[in-house]
Assembly symmetry: C2
Amino acid sequence: MEFSSKIIEQAVDAFSQLPGVGKKTALRYVLHVIKQDKLQVDQLSKLVSQLKTDLRFCSKCHTIAEQEVCDICLNPSRDESTVCIVQDYRDILAIENTGLYKGHYHVLGGLISPLEGITPSGLNIETLVLKLDSGKVKEIILALNATMEGETTSFYIFRKIAPYNIKLSAIARGIAVGDELEYADEITLGRSILNRVPFDSLLKK
Amino acid sequence: MEFSSKIIEQAVDAFSQLPGVGKKTALRYVLHVIKQDKLQVDQLSKLVSQLKTDLRFCSKCHTIAEQEVCDICLNPSRDESTVCIVQDYRDILAIENTGLYKGHYHVLGGLISPLEGITPSGLNIETLVLKLDSGKVKEIILALNATMEGETTSFYIFRKIAPYNIKLSAIARGIAVGDELEYADEITLGRSILNRVPFDSLLKK
């Protein structure tokens, strides 16, 4: 595509670096911005640059925070001895939304993926080991995606944690609430039978 | 969704004003920006605000331009007496890409759509009438979408142009190059038979 203006061309290039955005979608965004009020556009421009200047990664759990240490790590009412390992910030949002977890988190920043060139050294695993060395952690919960990469990463962390004699659990895999058995895949259904739970534990939630 | 940071929340709101972007996609964009280099982020922020400050609408054809009048309207080798009416800037890009049109354009800025509350007064039709009044225009080509809104707008413009005794044409509707007749809808196929063209005119292109 050839644009009539250098600025449009550069803006389309910049927008098309966003995940899942191609040139056509980027152009739609650009044309939309041109039609917006100046106030809204200035706000978007300011916020984009603030995302980089005013946010950082929590030095304890690596989530995104406005200060050196995030609110969850600073909160004294949260249980420091339980650490839930997640891939990124969005997983923390999802788990926090349930309102059922009161421990700390540790954000890996990705999953091991040889195809995408992501090795364990590219993830926040060293600081996890330091946390274990401190002796404060009693339980680790693996809450990674149920994908090949998630399982690989879970297994890698399992091997890292093994020497520490720390309780290690993973979030339950099973039939999603509202799903019909008929349409569940056999691996999920098989696991949900193997990992069946006492019925009264379901009543509590 | 509840975010841990006011800046993330505001940035998600700002991004989700882009067309077709919901909260989840906006959050993906925000997290991507946070992980980008400072240079790239500053570039995006600067370009967004430049879209508003450095671009304007051409005073003659209403397309997006860096100066008061766009390059096409300024180009002396283009035929001022033929004006192609399009919905927006993207249609000009598409037609320019063909390399087969050497006239001027007129951007309506939308299509008549009672459902979306877009009436003729919301489109650039007054300036089109002024152009016709000037007496320089010999032919008008309607190149609007083949949708209900496009046809309504074409008909509205047809009525506006009728008193002027100007040649009025519309881009050909028919079977797309590469398409199979078997799968064409009957209206398109019907029109392509009624509007058949001399075979040797196809050989030239």
